[in-house]
Amino acid sequence: MSSFDTAKTPATRGEATLRLSVILFLSSAVFWLVVGALLFCLAAWKLVVPSFLDGAGWLTYGRILPAAENALVYGWASQAGIGLGLWLLARLGRTALGSERLLVTAGLFWNLGVLLGVCSIVAGAGRAIRGLEFSSAASFILLIAYVCIGVWGLILLRDRSSDGLYVSQWYLLAAFLCFPWLYATANMLLIWNPVQGSAQGPIASWYVGSLLWLWLAPLALAAVYYLVPHIARRPVRAYPSSVLAFWCLTFLGGWTGTRLLIGGPIPAWLVSASIAAGIMMLIPATLICINTLGTLGGRDVPRIPEAPFTIFGVACFAVVVLQGAATPLISTVTHFSDYSLGENVLVIFGFLSMALFGAAYHAIPRLTGREFPSAVASFHFWLSVGGVATMFIALTLGGLIQGFALFDPGVDFMSSVSLAAPFRAMYALGTLVFLGACVLFAAAFARNLLGGYSPRATPGLRVQTIGDRDL
């Protein structure tokens, strides 16, 4: 069986040297979460009432929406993933960092890049390629800042004092290695020195798929794999299979993107390969669900804030993979309809955000020494679930109806707009609920940072690395 490790290594030795930078990453991530959710909510309402704030260029739907998506991806999910990832690396490897000055500087530059990028989109200098809308200056700053951050991630891994590597560390290593490669390739070929248009479609869709499965999802899954044995207080179920899941996911992840161009102007084999990859993703997803939900399920889960968020995040991950695998069955109806917007909502809010919230509820009390009141966490959870569920159900149902209208040659285009309208109103309500959840979380986080909550009962003396068995 696995090493049920209850090491009494001073818990704060490793990650204490990272305290300032992790708090910086998390607090600025939460700031961008609120900004992104606000812009996202604004965009959703503008879809319902097109004349709402339509007098100014910087508030037009076509700029607000990419600004929101980029703020959420680079400002929130990436940054929270980086902060939590570095914290996990220090904790799992029991690595102490000499000085975190460079890391803090790099974090500030990352935020400068996001700020510049969001402003460039709103100001009308956006690049109109999904996930790469930031101006070339902003994406360049992001990449430079990232290199400094990523190097620290690798140093933390290399200098670990514990032997062996946990699967959380595998995922973090994959993410930290893939992102610069991914981001540099996409920017080089699409933004800084664009290839000709005929090649841009497949490269852009490769980037969207890879950004999710080789960067954002590994960051979130690293946190999930770390949390699950902590929550369940027993080792991960079927732990060896997590290795197979890891390799399947990282191999298939890069291939999933091009199905976004199903039927489009790219060679058919690129789409077929991507559809096959999407179906094969069921293998790692099943294994990951067995590892995580299998460990947490079937018995009384402790009532700690990280548990519901993690479970909900993994459940959304499973639905995301199922939707991807179902693409060839339903894409004639769902492609280009609000259904695909629903898929995005589930990825960014349901899967990534909820998993990151769970990890944040674990890490923040250990960084500040103060616990969140369980009522706040519980209210935040149910508000988030309400928001995500409303958005997802509205977009999925509305998208199916709109999709049938878009598909049927006998129905004119305007019918698809009027059929989708009531569902879009419901979706806009959902974005408002989710925005409320984000603001609540930001307020609770700020209060925790500023010392508003009561101290943790036994700071730093909890069981550290239960069941994350050595590989």
Binding site: G55, W170, L173, L190, F251, F336, L406, M414, V417
Partner: protein, 207 residues
């Protein structure tokens, strides 16, 4: 596997598979596509963009038109795009040769614009539609782009480029006129240029 180097090497291998397969292939094959000369007419296809249309492409990008409008007519196996008369033929990679960037899009919140220059040929119609979408297309959920226009007092003669036929809530009062900015003019030039009806060897227009 408890050491870093083999893990790093493994990650390198799995990453390169899609990197070579998708990015490398696209860059080397699709990225080197050439325009073709039509043997019958002597035209170069796809035709080069005018300077105005190229500038309009940047306005199209800046205002995020691609958030709601696709520019691709999909082939028959996956869609009814051709039956729905989005264009005379499915679009192929070569159609996007001159696009910077290629506005393929991912949602049809608004209609596909691949061939919008074939459906509408009147510049004033485009200007009116951008200025007051709901007055032109009842029930439209397109926002107004009147920030690309100037509503100003007529001094002397009315301007030649002023919009005709405005009747929505933001129509000019008597003695005023709405004139397109440079951005609006080039954007409409770009939209008028969107016609993928020329023949390509890999995609003949359907009769």
């Amino acid at each position: 596997m408890s050491k870093l180097p083999p893990l790093v090497f493994g990650i390198f291998l799995v990453f390169t598979s899609a990197w070579f397969g998708i990015v490398g292939y696209s860059y080397l094959q699709l990225g080197r596509m050439q325009p073709v000369v039509d043997e019958n007419s002597g035209d170069i296809n796809p035709p080069p963009l005018s300077g105005l249309a190229a500038a309009g492409q940047r306005v199209y990008a800046a205002n995020g038109c691609v958030s709601c409008h696709t520019q691709q007519v999909r082939s028959g196996a996956f869609s009814t795009d051709v039956e729905k008369k989005l264009g005379p033929r499915p679009t192929v990679a070569r159609d996007y040769l001159r696009e910077r960037p290629a506005f393929l899009g991912n949602l049809r919140i608004g209609p596909d614009l691949t061939n919008v220059g074939l459906r509408f040929t009147d510049a004033n119609w485009f200007h009116r539609h951008l200025y007051e979408p709901t007055a032109v297309v009842p029930g439209s959920n397109m926002p107004s782009y009147r920030y690309l226009y100037q509503n100003r007092k007529i001094v002397g003669q009315p301007s030649a480029g002023a919009l005709a036929g405005l009747n929505g809530a933001h129509a000019p009062r008597p003695g005023y006129e709405v004139v397109p900015s440079e951005d609006a003019r080039v954007l409409v030039a770009y939209l008028l240029s969107l016609k993928r009806d020329y023949p390509l060897p890999e995609a003949e227009p359907l009769q």
